[in-house]
Structure formats: C-alpha cells, structure tokens
Amino acid sequence: MHPYMAGLAGGALIGLSVAGLMLLNGRIAGISGVVAGIGRNRGERQHADIAFVIGLIAGPPLFAWLSGAWPAMHGVASLPVLAGAGLLVGFGTRLGSGCTSGHGVAGLARLSPRSLAAVFTFLATGMLTVTALRGLAP
C-alpha cells in the first residue's frame, strides 16, 4: 500500500477510536492525558485509562499478526537524546494540556481555538528543531 493510502486508512482508524471513545464513554482520547490519568486518577477512571493503554500497546502486535510485518521504525535517536526528548514531551504535554492526539485530532475535530493554537505552536517548534538538527548533522 502506498504510504499516503496507508496514512489515510490509519488516520481513519485513529479518528474512529477518538469518535468511538467520545460516543461510548464521553471521553477525549488524548494519549498524554490518558497516560497521566493513570497516575492521577483512582477508581473506574483510572481503570479505563489503563484499559485504553493496554489496547494501544496491543495495537502493533495485532497489526503484525494481520499484515505479517511489524510497523517500520527507522532513525531512532540516541538514548541521551531520547531521554531529553521524553522529558520535554512529558512535561510539555502536561503543561500544554495535550499532544498530537488530544489537541491534534480531538481538539481540531472539536474546532477548539486552544487546540488550534497548540497545534500551530508544536508544529512550529518541531519544524524548527528538525531544521536545526539537519543543520547540525555532518
């Protein structure tokens, strides 16, 4: 399948997940919020967040079983860079109340001005960062 077609189809599944969680449970499927929710919530809400994360982690193996190949992962950064990036992503998504799923998919689909501002901001700093990385590369 062409990468753009796979992107469209995969994106539709992501949208289906976001729509389904709202229509069934009334919840926003924002991954940073769900992950943080495991730490800060108790009771059923915590259990629901754990169930979502278990499903999310089971996604790639199910994909591998259905398609016969694991999803590709290239160009993984060095461990120190990943550790620094992880800190920024964890802290930044909590401070900014969302990530690519909560602001990028659910927020834009809700036509939220806050999410639109967040998406423009993280796209801008992400693009600047990658451009700077390319400039530094030998």
Partner: protein, 172 residues
C-alpha cells in the same frame, strides 16, 4: 452515593471494554499509518529538507472521522455508556498552553516520537522507546509536583462541567 444511579454505574464492564477497544483501534491505526516510524514523523517536520507529507494525510483523515463523530455526539443527550460528555473547560489561550506546546514540539522534533506512537511501540520491545517513555513519565511526574495556578488547582477535586448538567456525576 453513586450506587443508586442505575443504568450508568452498572455499565462499568462495557465502558472498560470500550476503552480497551478504542485503545486497540488507535494502536492499529498508528501502526498502519506509518506514524510509529520516527524517521517518517521527522521527515514531515523537515520542511526545509526532504519533506514527507504523510502525516498530513493521517491527521486530515483522523480529524475528518473524529469531526463526524463529535458532530453526532453534540446531538445526543449523553454518551451511550456514561452519564455525561466529559469535555475540557478551559477557554483561554495562555502562556501555559503555548509554552507547553512549544516544549512538546521540541521533544517531538528531537525524537520523532509523541506519546501515542511511543506508548504503542513499547510492544516492539525496542529499548530506545522504553527509555523515551520512562523519561516522558518522569516529565509528567515533574509537572504534577509543580504548584498549580488557581484556575487549574486540584482538578481532581473539581469535576469538569458537564455539557448536560442534569447528568449524575460519576467521578472516581
């Protein structure tokens, strides 16, 4: 208190199953879309280099389907399995939102990973992904230790306002 709310509280198992299913479909979609691949995500952010537009197709498709679902949700009194729609209540575009998004974008650009793909890719067993997710959890925990401003103080103690106020509060 909440045990008297028949019809919503005894749907715990279906709700957990819905969460599990939504996570699974999300993970499957990420896998199919190619967004688990840090090189592809960084390729999208590399607008001055060899730009890879795939992420636009993923995001456009996901937002379109979610928009249809949310449009339907707006016409319903409540979700199928829960008492109310639980939506963000903040309206202000402030320094926290933009500062947080800016920091997130830097980390996203450095790694090509954001929370969804990183957590999903834990199942590949790749050590670098585990390191990223561990650092992400540390970053989240660090945020929780910061003093919170009044508008967001103790969010757990103040449930978000329901869009249909008559629904029973099913917190905790």
């Amino acid at each position: 208190m909440s045990g008297t709310v028949s019809g919503t509280m005894n749907r715990t198992v279906p709700r957990l199953a819905a969460s599990l299913g939504a996570g699974l479909v999300f993970g499957l979609g990420l896998s199919l879309s190619g967004m688990l691949d840090p090189a592809r995500v960084q390729g999208f952010l590399d607008v001055t280099g060899a730009w890879d537009p795939t992420l636009i197709f993923v995001l456009g498709s996901a937002v379109s389907v979610a928009l249809a679902g949310f449009t339907l949700a707006r016409r319903l009194p409540r979700p199928a399995l829960a008492a109310r729609f639980d939506l963000p209540t903040h309206r202000r575009i402030d320094g926290r939102l933009l500062g947080g998004a800016a920091l997130f974008g830097i980390g996203w650009g450095l790694s090509g990973l954001c929370p969804g793909p990183a957590v999903a890719a834990l199942s590949t067993g790749a050590l670098p992904v585990a390191v990223f997710v561990l650092a992400m959890l540390v970053g989240m925990a660090a945020f929780e230790r910061l003093p919170q401003p009044r508008s967001e103080a103790a969010p757990a103690a103040r449930p978000p306002a329901p869009i249909r106020p008559e629904g029973p509060v099913a917190s905790g």
